[in-house]
Amino acid sequence: MKIISSYSIKGGVGKTALSVNLAYALREAGRRTLLLDLDPQGAASFYFRLESAKKFKMRDANSMAEGLRKNIRESDFPGLDVIPSNLEYRRLDILLDGMTKRRKQLRSILEEFKPDYDVILMDCPPNITLLSENVFRASDVILVPVIPTVLSRRTLEQLTGFFTDEELPGDMLRPFFSMAQKRSKMHREIMADLPTAHPGFLKTVIPFSADVEKMGLHRMPLPAYSPTCAAAVAYRALCAEILSQPSLRP
């Protein structure tokens, strides 16, 4: 089982679109996939027409694993299950802080799901907290959507700096360009320049697309209602790129 996270310090870069569409592409590729919506906003859950997760006790790793398991919902797409978000997740930092091995609890919780899934994909909220640190230590790979803009470049550099400071393995960060517009000169320049500074950059580029925004109307993954649009094709290509790399392959 591989644990993949969709993470960025910055909001609005396409993390949830990545989580939902990559999860769909992974199950299309035959991987039993569990999407864990850790963002209290619950956008990923909304796209799958799921209600919030029911409240559960979060005393320790065991009770958290049990609570998460009880909240697993089968999506409309066989092979893809979701643990929907819950506003209580905003308190996860405090709860984790009170536990022993507080930076590694999430990994041991997710180990519980190993027999049932090939991939666990986490949609993370945009911040750096104790939960984020748990995500970093639990993940095998962290996918970082980067809009080819100056601000996004800055947040990527903040993230890599944090990894260096915390002595986390930087090679698990796999940025890729998201919401890219080839007509924009700035986008083109940053896309030419940034990967040279970050060798882990994935090659697939997710183009900006109005079809992605319509996910909220359709309330389903993009490839499910518009399988041939450029963005849907790009998400599949991103999935294929991940599966083609031995270190990333679930």
Binding site: L34, R49, N71, I72, R73, E74, D76, R219
Partner: protein, 520 residues
Amino acid sequence: MQNMTSERLILPVGVGAEFLLDEWSCEIRQQESRLLTFWDTFEWGVWFSGHLLYSCEGVYHLCTREEGWPGIELCEEKSVGRRRFWNEFATPEMRAKLEGMLGLRGLAPVVEGTFRRRQDDLRNGVGKIVCRLEWLIVSLGKQQEELLHSCRVIPLLGYEAEADRLEAYLFQAGAKISGEGPLELLLRQSDRIPREYTLRPPFGLKSETPAREAVGRVVRSMLEIATGTVPGILSDLDTEFLHDYRICLRKIRSVLTLVKEVYPAEETLRMRQILGDLARQTNRLRDLDVYLLARDEYLELLPPGLRPALDEMFDDFSAERGIEVRRVISKLRAHSWSRLMGEIEECFSPKNPHPPSPASALPVGPLVFRCIYKRYRKIRVIATEIGVESSDDAVHQLRIQCKKLRYLMEFFAELIPREEVTALQKLLRRLQSRLGEFNDASVQQQTLLNYWEEKKSGSDVALGLGGLVSILYHRQQQVRSLILQAVKEFCDDATAASFKKVFKQPLSVLTTTPPRSSQS
């Protein structure tokens, strides 16, 4: 991630997806209709191994049988023509699975049914799928009339409560938990009930049952099985119908000989003659079946270079078999055959007022035990003369006596304390198996030599036949030493003591004046 399963509900007429639309949002999909032909052998080998084999649109499917429902599909195979034997299938998986279920038996269609399936999605208020509904309507053959209308509610993980609510709604509308599956219903409608098939049925005997009644029951059971094999012989579905027909006739003849004086002597003689005549009509066909079934085994005995030489012989056997089948079929369809079978039936009918005979009213238990013990002692005497130099004929005589003993122990197995004879039967089986191997090798050599005598074919064939005869001769000599060992075990003092303990009866049991038989 779990596979949620649920009960299949049998629905009353009119309760379909449309019925749910008042309460739920249900996405009704296209219905798929398929005509399935289910296949099995005369012995229901597929059914009793817990499987189903069906064909549909040129594809054979083998699946598990789950209480009369097709379960998990194990393998499938496309087929242009009809498949009869396991080795006519091409895929290794299908062959491996069917070999054990079919043995030498041929497949025949047992029933046809139209299966109309549809899978709908049931959605909640926000349009999320909460359950999948599997509808199934089954009709006999190509008919439209519904034999079974069922629905399975499969909740998506996390939505079990919705499924419970839906099931409760269906129960209120008259749904029931499935009892019989579609297969059971189809088979019952077409009067095809799977029954265990055996050549060793229980006869319901007790030790004190009068001998004539006991032997009569054995004969009538065997006769019924023999008659049941005839349609299979006529259709030439497989070789085992004829094989079993012959075994039944032989067993009837044997029981009349082995338990003497149960019926009047002249009637016994007449019946034995009729049974012998009926069996002889099929001798050549059975011989040819045996050779042709052993074709691969024969060929494997020879080096690859010599194998094509034997093709000519097998082609001759195969052609002759075609002629023999037609001849046997015409015999079985002839009036004389029906008349002879009728005479046997009449003779052994419980209503037939035969006069009493010396053993007719004796209790069958002591009588048969005495026969068994006598037969065993006879075998012991013959066995003392068996050695490395014994003639094939002497070994053959020992084989015949052992077969008679086994028949006696088989016919009257219900009367024999099983725990005391298990070890004895094991020794007998081992000895018989060795004697059988010896005899087969001897008969096969003779057959090959006879074929050569008759055909005088080319040198290639001679080479192949010669090779085979010498291998068979060598095999026969190897079996000899094994026979001696098996004889030693079967006839040693400990085994003799066991036979004596179980089967020896005081003479007085048989010398008391019997009461008049109720049948006589």
